[in-house]
Amino acid sequence: MASAEGQQHPLAIYFWIWGLLFVLSFCSYMVDYLNLQGNLRWGLILLFMFLKAGFIVAIFMHMKWERLSLKFAIMGPPVAILVLISLMALEGHYVQDNRIDNYGESTFEPQELPHH
């Protein structure tokens, strides 16, 4: 058990993950730079985000080598956030509908950004 005498692993795996995080960050930046839109944009942003988060937690934070009891205790509770996200998305759309019904569409006139 790795955690009994501390988490010591070969350096190579850290260098691999390090490089991979750079590549993934570059990819998510390119999504914006190439101005991809719609489902493709969303799919790619979420894919790169979850891959990066997964590698950081699994390898850099050593979760991969911890016992399953610790994995469950830490990774389980955040699943509840998915419920909060769905409830607040519903609430948000409801509030927006009410605003449009009662106050009408936005009359906001965006100003041009100053260019330097």
């Binding site: 501390g6 960050s25 930046y29 979420l46 985000m49 956030i81 609430e91 950004l113 330097h116």
Partner: protein
């Protein structure tokens, strides 16, 4: 993780799913990790909920507003040699944070090898990268407040909620980075002056500090995706 291993009492610890029931029912410490590490994980779990609340409230007000949302690609662009490059500063900040995560992972590894000198310098490098991240964030805030007129209660480009959520989320994250820089420096100098050598030469603390630092990087991954790329 595949085979059962005996703990110091000689009882075999089953691996995998039977190990979960075994750990929680063995009438002693549940997690076979140092208490500091277990507590850091639990603190990070609570911090996960705080940042989630911020990001979820950002999502909610962004859905609910009828005003247009300012284009982050334009707001956070920088003009370099006459070309306007979208999100360039944010991209540099992202790369700096990932670099610092790498140096931190190396520091943890060197700590377990009891190489105090390398551990110290790698932790100082991590702290320096963290400090430069905060510096760039200060530059970004100044640009937004002074040049673009963004305030927590409104801005000329669109929905007022843009400013309030931006300052709250990136401010709270920046505060975590700043606290992390101080934490890293304290531990780094203790490693250097032999503080842990006098306590049995256990460098688990470097890994615990690393957990906090990687978490700060982890939160930035989500902020980058949801706030800047959306």
């Amino acid at each position: 993780m595949s085979e059962a291993v005996a703990d110091h009492t000689g009882v075999a610890e089953p691996a995998g799913r039977p190990g979960v029931a075994f750990d929680f029912s063995r009438d002693k410490q549940v997690f076979p990790v140092p208490w500091g590490k277990a507590m850091m994980w639990i603190f990070l779990l609570s911090d996960t909920f705080i940042f989630s609340c911020f990001l979820v409230s950002y999502m909610k007000v962004r859905i609910a507003t009828t005003d247009p949302w300012p284009s982050t690609a334009e707001v956070f662009s920088l003009t370099i040699y006459g070309h306007s490059i979208p999100l360039v500063l944010i991209a540099i900040m992202t790369f700096i944070l990932i670099t610092s995560s790498g140096t931190m992972a190396m520091a943890v590894n060197m700590g377990y090898r009891k190489d105090r000198k390398k551990t110290f310098w790698l932790m100082v490098a991590t702290a320096a990268l963290g400090a430069s991240f905060v510096g760039m964030q200060a530059f970004e805030w100044t640009k937004l407040i002074v040049d673009h007129g963004v305030r927590p209660w409104g801005n000329p480009m669109g929905a007022a909620q843009f400013g309030s959520t931006f300052f709250m989320i990136t401010g709270f994250h920046g505060m975590h980075v700043s606290a992390g820089v101080i934490y890293l420096l304290v531990i780094a100098f203790r490693v250097k002056n032999g503080f842990y050598e006098r306590r049995g030469g256990n460098y688990e603390i470097v890994e615990i500090t690393g957990l906090y630092w990687h978490f700060v990087d982890l939160v930035w991954v989500f902020i980058f995706a949801f706030f800047y790329l959306w």
